[in-house]
Each structure stands twice: as structure tokens, then as C-alpha cells.
């Protein structure tokens, strides 16, 4: 035992082993990404910049109930409503101070009308603070830019506490299936086109 230790000490065995490992890594694909050139696509359901949902006829789905403002932990949503000609509630101003937001998405969870969403857009650096004060118009534009069409519908159905989470419909629920796993092993990242999951060996493609 002592002899072995001595040999290890003299020959720098452990250091050589470490060197061999680092050297072997020279021949694998890099895991880093050249960020500004090579952008990372956020996964669906990402909690990024806000957007106000539109109805099919183009108007905002928000009715001004104020639940999102009530639950917001950083109190950065401001909803101002007035009374319309037929005593209906009109959302006069709907504003979010994006710089104070913590992206917890509780507003999305609270809204009973699926009127507010968090988009996959995460690069919002800008030159002035005013650009981060989102008015209703800007928020509706965000919807057109990032969530238009089927994507928006999918978003609410999939991520926000849908019915099958609580009751019934356990049939289609995913559980671990060794057979399926064997088939998919190593190619999980290209299962569903846009649903890319990093597999830890190379870059996300």
C-alpha cells in the first residue's frame, strides 16, 4: 500500500489522470454558445415579456377586473377603468412597469379571462426607462408579435392550471415508461420539433 502511494506521488498519477480527462475534452463538441450571434430559443411556457391577449375580433380580452393587479407581488400592474355609456366597465388604461416585475406569472394564473400572458421574448434591453413602461397598446402589440394565432391558445391550455390537473382525465397523463425511454434515449431533444431539450452532450440545435 505504502509503495503504491509512493509511486503515485512520485509519478504524479492523479494529476496525469486529470490532464488526460481535460485533454480528451478537447475533442468533444463545445457546450457553450456564442450568445449574441447564436441566440437561445426559450422553451414554450417561458416567463418573459408580458402581452395582453386579443379576442378573435381584435379587441383586448381584458375586462378590467383588477385581479392581476391584486395578486402582483411587486405591485407593478395598474388598471384604470371607467363606466361606458351602457354602464359597462371600460378599461381606460392598463399599464405594467416591466422593470419592477419579477416574472412570477401569478398575474397569468389569477386572470379569470386568460387575458394576460407572458411571452417567450426575453431580450428587452433598451436605452430609456420609458420603454419599459408598457401601456395597453404596447402590450397588445406584444401579443401580435409573439403569441399570435394558435400559440396563444396552446399557451393557456398547457401551462396554466388546466382542468385535467385536478380532476379526471388521468388516462393521457405521462408516466415513466422504460420502453418509450429506450426508444427515445439520446434524441429527446428532437421529439417535437420546437420542443428542444438540451441533452447535455452538445449544443441545442
Amino acid at each position: 500500500m505504502r509503495l503504491k502511494e509512493l509511486i503515485q506521488k512520485v509519478l504524479f498519477i492523479e494529476i496525469l489522470k486529470g490532464m488526460a480527462l481535460t485533454l480528451s475534452r478537447l475533442f468533444t463538441r463545445p457546450v457553450t454558445r456564442q450568445y449574441p450571434e447564436e441566440k437561445k430559443q426559450a422553451l414554450p411556457g417561458f416567463r418573459g415579456l408580458h402581452a395582453l391577449a386579443r379576442r378573435p375580433d381584435g379587441t383586448a380580452r381584458c375586462v378590467g377586473c383588477g385581479l392581476c393587479a391584486a395578486i402582483c407581488p411587486s405591485e407593478c400592474i395598474h388598471v384604470y377603468t371607467t363606466e361606458g355609456p351602457d354602464h359597462q366597465k371600460i378599461v381606460e388604461r392598463y399599464e405594467i412597469e416591466v422593470l419592477r416585475c419579477v416574472y412570477c406569472a401569478l398575474c397569468v394564473e389569477a386572470c379569470p379571462f386568460q387575458a394576460i400572458a407572458l411571452t417567450e421574448h426575453y431580450e428587452y434591453a433598451n436605452y430609456s426607462r420609458d420603454d419599459f413602461y408598457m401601456t395597453k397598446e404596447k402590450l397588445l402589440e406584444n401579443w401580435d408579435k409573439y403569441m399570435a394565432g394558435k400559440k396563444g391558445e396552446e399557451y393557456f391550455k398547457r401551462f396554466w392550471h388546466p382542468l385535467e390537473n385536478d380532476f379526471r382525465e388521468y388516462e393521457g397523463q405521462p408516466i415513466f415508461d422504460p420502453e418509450r425511454y429506450k426508444r427515445r434515449k439520446g434524441k429527446i431533444r428532437d421529439i417535437r420539433g420546437e420542443w428542444l431539450i438540451y441533452n447535455g452532450n452538445g449544443r441545442r440545435q
Partner: protein, 407 residues
């Protein structure tokens, strides 16, 4: 610093040089203090004579803020305690509130929560080994462990839409169900990960520089560790097999097997060993949870007074809409009066929430027992009498995060 007057200097020259202790302020902007910890060190040459930690630079008043928030609304605050492993804090918080309300999450949700808290432990320990090794001078480990951490963070992103500030568990369950991709990719991770741990160990386990910097440094005996109130890997490194997951099991821990690794000497090296073994055990727990996860609801279906109703019901049923409004504006007003202490085994140690409820929708008082705060208090004991260079090793080994320490 030494303010030597002319007369003293002359005196010194006459009687031979007099030495004085040097006061060195380390931090709050020092990269190896892992945040904004400030240590005031009194040095005699290179030996630390006295070490005084100053904390509070990251104080945000979390406990007070919670008093003005409904139980659901305070959840994002728990993300920001130990921001490296926010999932574990979320789980700890919702568990405390559930125990207060007397509700229980369904089995599937328990499995999911166990998986995510173990993933948080892995990502926390990966960051710990990365920074600890970097502080001591091993750069490669840092790069390798971030590679694995990225995989876990991507899975978090896929699961809940955020990589760090997750806010994923909810009182009574979790926010949304896991997907097939999540399960398969995580399973692949658990198959791959033991090999990756071996890689880190190849790099540092026997490395003579690493051994010299860690063996016999920061020794604390079992008895002393208990007296200081240490928990988590720091306590287990001294050979005390205390783990909340075994002593007061929560979520799915009673249903899976795992071991609690312990050290012997209570030095930096043993704590390193304990954490490495812990990563292997976490990996085992995740694997078992994935294999055994049953089908079923992920939110407690029988607690409409405490959990938000599902979206589709809110949009179609008046009763659920009313629940939604009341829960959000007033909080769970059916909350029972009383107080509760509930603890979980967070990656850093025992994270406890003590909640006093006066029957309104908001906590009357919420007190946090954060492991980092307790561990920061042991720094003088570990550092005094040792070299300045060992201070870095000691800060790394107790693995503090100042967000949690200062709250």
C-alpha cells in the same frame, strides 16, 4: 490600520521593531465571499487572530413583507431566499402552509415536488463544487459542473418557464403537470450523471494541491457542530447523521430509499466528500421517483378554500369564479388560527418556516430559520488561528448564500 505617530516610530526604532495586528476587511465585494458577506479579519502576519462576520447587506425584509401578503402572494419571495435552489425553498414554504391549513398534496404532486427539490439540491451542490473548487484554484471543475447544471436548469425552464426563480409548487400541489419529455430527459440525466461525478472526482479527489488545501482545515467536532446549531452537510461532515428527510419525512421521501452519507473528521475534505455522496443519493432519489410516479391529480382536489380552482372551471362556473376572486384579493380566509414550525432539508441545511396565523388570509408572523445564517456564525470558530488562505476554503465549505442569510 496602523496609525503610527512620529514618537512611536522613534520609540520603535530605539527598542527594536514592534509588530501590530493588521485589520483587513474582506468583502462585501470580494469574489470568494459568495455574495455580500463582510469579514473583518485581524491578522498577525498571515494568521487570523480574530474574525468577525458582518451580515445584512442583502437584507430585504422578507419576513416583514410576508405579513402583508396573502399566502399565495408570498410564494415568489421564497424564491429569493437561496436563489440558487429556489425550488427547494418553494417546496419548504408551501409545505409549511399546507401543514398550517391541514391539507395534503396528492401523491403525484408529492413525487413531483420530491423530484424538483432533489434537482434543486443537485444544482445547488453543482454550483457549490464549482465555486468552491474555483476558490481553491481548480478551474476545470467549475466549467464541467456548469455543463450539468445547465441541463437541470433547462429542465426547470421546460417545466415551469423560469430557470432560477421558479415559483413552481403551489399550496396543495404543483402548478402544472410534468411532460413526457421532462421525465425522459431527466431519466437520461440520472443515468448519465454518476459518470459526470466521477469526472469531477478524477480532477480533484486525489489531487495533492486539493488535499493540502482541504485536509485538516476548518475542523469542527460533532459535539461542537451540534452546539453551534449546524445542519445539513456541514453537520454530517462531522459524523452526525441528522437529515430532516429521514427524521421528519415529508413529500415522497418516506417512499424512496436513500442513505445519509456522513463524514468522520469534520474538515473541509470530509464535507466535500459528504456533498459528493449526497449528489449520488439525490440522483438515486430522482430515479426512483420517476419510476414510481403514479397517475393522478397534481393539486389537492378537496381543498377549494385554499387552492385556486382550475382555469376552465373559473371560466364556466360562478362558484369557482367567486373562489378565485376571494382567494386572490383576501387570501384563504378559512385559514385556521394557530402556529406551526415546519422544516425541510434544503441543500444548505435545515430550512424552517415558523408561521403564526390569526385566521385571516395573511400570515400574522412568518419567521425563517435559514441555515446560511447559522452557518455564517460559525466562521470565527473555523477561521481563528488559521491562515488567511484557509478563510476562503472555510467560506466555501459552509456553503452560504447571503440572500438566505440576510433574508
Amino acid at each position: 490600520m496602523s496609525n503610527i505617530t512620529m514618537r512611536e516610530l522613534k520609540e520603535d526604532i530605539r527598542t527594536g521593531l514592534k509588530t501590530k495586528e493588521l485589520v483587513l476587511s474582506m468583502g462585501p465585494q470580494h469574489p470568494s465571499t459568495h455574495g455580500v458577506l463582510r469579514l473583518v479579519l485581524e491578522l498577525d502576519g498571515e494568521t487570523v487572530v480574530k474574525c468577525t462576520p458582518y451580515v445584512g447587506y442583502l437584507h430585504r425584509g422578507t419576513e416583514k413583507l410576508c405579513e402583508h401578503r396573502t399566502y399565495l402572494n408570498a410564494l415568489p419571495l421564497s424564491d429569493r431566499l437561496d436563489y440558487i435552489v429556489s425550488m427547494a425553498n418553494n417546496v419548504g414554504y408551501v409545505l409549511a402552509v399546507e401543514r398550517l391549513f391541514g391539507i395534503e398534496a396528492p401523491p403525484r404532486a408529492k413525487y413531483i415536488r420530491t423530484i424538483v427539490s432533489e434537482m434543486a439540491r443537485l444544482s445547488g451542490h453543482l454550483l457549490w463544487i464549482a465555486t468552491h473548487a474555483l476558490d481553491i484554484g481548480a478551474m476545470t471543475v467549475f466549467l464541467y459542473s456548469f455543463r450539468e447544471r445547465e441541463w437541470l436548469l433547462d429542465l426547470f425552464e421546460h417545466l415551469c418557464g423560469a430557470r432560477l426563480t421558479t415559483s413552481y409548487p403551489r399550496i396543495g400541489g404543483v402548478r402544472n403537470d410534468v411532460t413526457e419529455e421532462f421525465l425522459d430527459s431527466l431519466y437520461e440525466f440520472t443515468e448519465e450523471f454518476p459518470r459526470r461525478i466521477e469526472e469531477y472526482e478524477t480532477l480533484i479527489d486525489q489531487n495533492r494541491i486539493w488535499l493540502q488545501r482541504t485536509k485538516g482545515i476548518g475542523v469542527i467536532s460533532a459535539e461542537e457542530a451540534i452546539n453551534w446549531g449546524l445542519t445539513g452537510p456541514v453537520l454530517r461532515g462531522s459524523g452526525v447523521p441528522y437529515d430532516v428527510r429521514k427524521f421528519a419525512p415529508y413529500d415522497a421521501y418516506p417512499w424512496v430509499d436513500f442513505e445519509v452519507p456522513v463524514g468522520k473528521n469534520g474538515d473541509v475534505y470530509d464535507r466535500y466528500k459528504v456533498r459528493m455522496q449526497e449528489m449520488r443519493q439525490s440522483n438515486r432519489i430522482i430515479k426512483q421517483c420517476i419510476e414510481r410516479m403514479p397517475k393522478g391529480p397534481v393539486m389537492a382536489p378537496d381543498a377549494p378554500k385554499f387552492t385556486l380552482p382550475p382555469k376552465e372551471k373559473v371560466m364556466s362556473e360562478m362558484e369557482s369564479l367567486i373562489h378565485q376572486f376571494v382567494l386572490i384579493t383576501k387570501g384563504p380566509i378559512a385559514a385556521p388560527e394557530g402556529e406551526i414550525y415546519s422544516a425541510i432539508e434544503a441543500p444548505k441545511g435545515e430550512l424552517g418556516f415558523y408561521i403564526v396565523s390569526d385566521g385571516t388570509g395573511r400570515p400574522y408572523r412568518l419567521r425563517l430559520r435559514s441555515p446560511s445564517f447559522v452557518h455564517a456564525s460559525v466562521l470565527p470558530r473555523l477561521c481563528e488561528g488559521h491562515l488567511v488562505a484557509d478563510v476562503i476554503a472555510n467560506i466555501g465549505t459552509i456553503d452560504i448564500v447571503l440572500g438566505e442569510c440576510d433574508r
